[in-house]
C-alpha cells in the first residue's frame, strides 16, 4: 500500500518535472527566464493599449485583469499539450503505455507543473499590472483573488489536457493550440465584455473555461468578497473537472485504439 503510494508519487514527479525540462531544454537558462518574465508583459501591453485606445480612458484595469488571468492559458494550453504530445515525438509513448503505471497519475503529473507555471504567469501579469499599468488592488481581498486564479488556472489547464489528447491524433498540434489560444483570447472576454456578444458567441464563451474566472477576478479586484463570486467559481471549477475527465477518457481511448491498431508510433 505504502509502496504503491511511493511508486505513484515517483511517477507523478517524473511525469511533471522531466516532461517540463524536456519541453524547455532547447532554451538557454537566461533566455528561458527572460521569456517567462517579459513575454507576459508584451502581450498585456498590446491589448491594454488597444483597450485604452478603444475606451479613451486611462483606467485600463478591465483589460489588465483580463489579460493577467489569460496568462494561465499560456502554460495551460501550450505547455500541457506539448508535454502530452512530447512523448509522441520522442517515440517514448509505447513505454508509458507498456509500463504498468497508473495512467491517471501519469496524466495528471504531466499537467501539474504547468498549473504551477500558469499560476506564476498570472501572478507576474498582476505584478506588471500594478507596477506599470496602474492597477489598484487596495479594495481587493488577496486570498480570494489567489483562489480565483488557482481555480481558473486548473480549469484552463483542463482544456489543455483535452487538447493534448486530441493532439495525439493529429499532426498539426501547433495549429490546434494556436487556434484555441487565440479563440480563448476572443471568447473568454479578457478584452471585451462577453455580455455584448450576440447570443451564439456567448454560448461559446460560457462553454469555455476562463470566461467565468475572468469575471470573478474582475469582481474580486473591485472589492467583492468570495461569497459574491462563489457561483461563478464553482461553475468554473466544474467545467475544469469536466474537461479533465473528457481528456482522461480520450487518453485511455487513444491508448486502446493505438494498441489495437498498432499505431503507437505512427499517427
Amino acid at each position: 500500500m505504502l509502496n504503491t503510494a511511493r511508486i505513484n508519487l515517483r511517477l507523478f514527479w517524473d511525469g511533471a518535472v522531466l516532461s517540463y525540462i524536456a519541453l524547455f531544454r532547447w532554451l538557454r537558462p537566461s533566455t528561458y527566464i527572460a521569456s517567462k518574465v517579459f513575454g507576459p508583459l508584451v502581450y498585456m501591453l498590446f491589448f491594454v493599449l488597444l483597450g485604452r485606445y478603444a475606451t479613451g480612458s486611462s483606467d485600463a484595469s478591465f483589460f489588465v485583469i483580463g489579460n493577467a488571468i489569460q496568462m494561465c492559458a499560456w502554460s495551460g494550453i501550450y505547455g500541457i499539450t506539448m508535454s502530452i504530445t512530447g512523448d509522441h515525438w520522442d517515440g517514448t509513448l509505447p513505454y508509458v503505455f507498456g509500463a504498468p503505471a497508473n495512467r491517471l497519475i501519469v496524466f495528471l503529473g504531466r499537467a501539474f507543473i504547468h498549473v504551477i507555471d500558469g499560476y506564476l504567469g498570472v501572478v507576474l501579469g498582476f505584478f506588471w499590472g500594478i507596477t506599470l499599468l496602474g492597477l489598484d488592488l487596495s479594495q481587493t481581498s488577496l486570498p480570494a483573488l489567489a483562489l480565483v486564479v488557482l481555480i481558473t488556472t486548473i480549469s484552463t489547464s483542463g482544456l489543455g489536457m483535452l487538447l493534448g489528447c486530441l493532439s495525439l491524433m493529429t499532426r498539426n498540434v501547433m495549429f490546434v493550440n494556436n487556434t484555441v489560444f487565440f479563440g480563448l483570447l476572443l471568447f473568454a472576454g479578457a478584452n471585451v465584455d462577453v455580455a455584448t456578444f450576440p447570443g451564439w458567441m456567448q454560448s461559446i464563451s460560457y462553454a469555455l473555461p476562463l470566461t467565468r474566472g475572468i469575471q470573478a477576478g474582475r469582481a474580486i479586484v473591485a472589492g467583492a468578497d468570495l461569497s459574491q463570486v462563489s457561483g461563478l467559481l464553482s461553475t468554473e471549477f466544474l467545467f475544469g473537472l469536466i474537461y479533465i475527465a473528457l481528456g482522461y477518457v480520450l487518453f485511455r481511448w487513444f491508448e486502446k485504439q493505438a494498441k489495437r491498431r498498432g499505431t503507437l508510433e505512427a499517427v
Binding site: 532554451l27 538557454r28 533566455t31 527572460a34 521569456s35 517579459f38 513575454g39 508584451v42 502581450y43 501591453l45 498590446f46 493599449l49 488597444l50 483597450g51 485604452r52 485606445y53 478603444a54 499532426r171 498539426n172 501547433m174 495549429f175 494556436n178 487556434t179 487565440f182 479563440g183 483570447l185 476572443l186 478584452n191 471585451v192 455584448t196
Partner: protein, 265 residues
C-alpha cells in the same frame, strides 16, 4: 555582372518563388499565422474599437492584415535559412552557384506575397460579422503603398533570416518580437499612445512607415505628401537592408563553414 548572370538569377528567384509557395500551401502553421490569427485579431479589435466610429472598419482590416504580414515575415521568412538547415537542404543551396541572398529573396517574395492573404482574411472576418461601410478612400495610393510595403518587408526579411542564423539567441527571441512590433509600428492604435521615448524606435522600423502609408491611404486621413514620405522611408530602409544583407550573408556563410553548422549532424 553579365546579362546572362542576371537572367540566371531572375530565373532562380522565379522558381524559388514557385517552389516556396507550393510547399507553404500545405503548411498548417503558415495558414494559422497568415489567416486564422489575423482574423481573430480583426474580430477582437473591431469589437473593442467599434464605438470609436469613423472609418474603423477599414482601419482594423488594414491593421490586422499588417499583424499577419509581420508575423508571417517573422516566423516564415525569419526561418528561411534555419528551416533549410532543419530539412537538410541548406548544404545543397550553399554549394550552388546562386548566391544565398538571391535564394532567400525568392523565398521572401513568396512568403510576403502569400502573407497578403491576411488582409483578405481580415476583410472577410470584418465584412461577415459587422455591418460596416468599408471603402478604401484612395485606392491607387493604397495599391502603390501595398507594393512599396511588400518590397520593404521582403528586404527586412533578408536581414532577419541572416541574423537568426548568426546567433541562435536572436532566434530564441523570435516569439518575443511578434507583439512589440504590433505595438511600436502602430498597426491597431496610434503610436501617440506610447511614451515619447519609443517614438524614435518606431521611426526606424519599416513596418511603422508601412502602417502610415496603408492606414493613411485607406482612410484618407493622411495627405498624399506624407504618404509619399512614408514610401521614401520604406525605400531607403529597403536599400540599407539589401546592402547590409549582402554583408550579413557573407559573414553568416563563412561562419557556418568554419563552425560546421550548415548541417545538423
Amino acid at each position: 555582372m553579365t546579362l546572362k548572370t542576371i537572367k540566371a538569377y531572375a530565373r532562380a528567384v522565379a522558381i524559388t518563388f514557385e517552389i516556396t509557395l507550393r510547399q507553404n500551401f500545405s503548411d498548417a502553421f503558415i495558414i494559422f499565422a497568415v489567416i486564422v490569427q489575423p482574423m481573430i485579431i480583426a474580430i477582437l479589435a473591431l469589437w473593442m474599437l467599434r464605438d470609436i466610429g469613423g472609418d474603423i472598419g477599414i482601419f482594423v482590416i488594414v491593421g490586422s492584415g499588417l499583424t499577419g504580414l509581420w508575423s508571417g515575415l517573422l516566423f516564415i521568412s525569419g526561418n528561411s535559412i534555419t528551416g533549410e538547415r532543419w530539412v537538410g537542404t541548406l548544404e545543397g543551396l550553399v554549394a550552388s552557384p546562386t548566391p544565398m541572398a538571391v535564394i532567400v529573396f525568392g523565398k521572401n517574395l513568396a512568403n510576403v506575397f502569400q502573407s497578403l492573404a491576411s488582409m483578405i482574411a481580415s476583410y472577410i472576418a470584418v465584412a461577415l460579422l459587422f455591418d460596416l461601410r468599408i471603402t478604401i478612400e484612395q485606392p491607387w495610393l493604397f495599391a502603390a503603398s501595398l507594393l512599396v510595403t511588400v518590397v520593404a518587408f521582403i528586404c527586412f526579411g533578408l536581414i532577419m533570416a541572416g541574423l537568426f542564423v548568426i546567433n541562435p539567441a536572436f532566434a530564441q527571441f523570435q516569439n518575443g518580437l511578434e507583439f512589440p512590433i504590433y505595438i511600436l509600428a502602430g498597426f491597431l492604435f496610434p503610436i501617440a499612445m506610447l511614451p515619447g521615448w519609443t517614438t524614435p524606435i518606431s521611426y526606424v522600423l519599416a513596418p511603422y512607415w508601412a502602417a502610415v502609408a496603408l492606414h493613411g491611404s485607406a482612410t484618407g486621413s493622411v495627405p498624399p505628401a506624407e504618404i509619399g514620405f512614408a514610401w521614401l522611408m520604406m525605400l531607403v530602409f529597403s536599400l540599407v537592408y539589401v546592402l547590409a544583407s549582402g554583408r550579413i550573408f557573407r559573414i553568416v556563410l563563412r561562419k557556418a563553414r568554419v563552425d560546421a553548422t550548415l548541417s545538423m549532424q
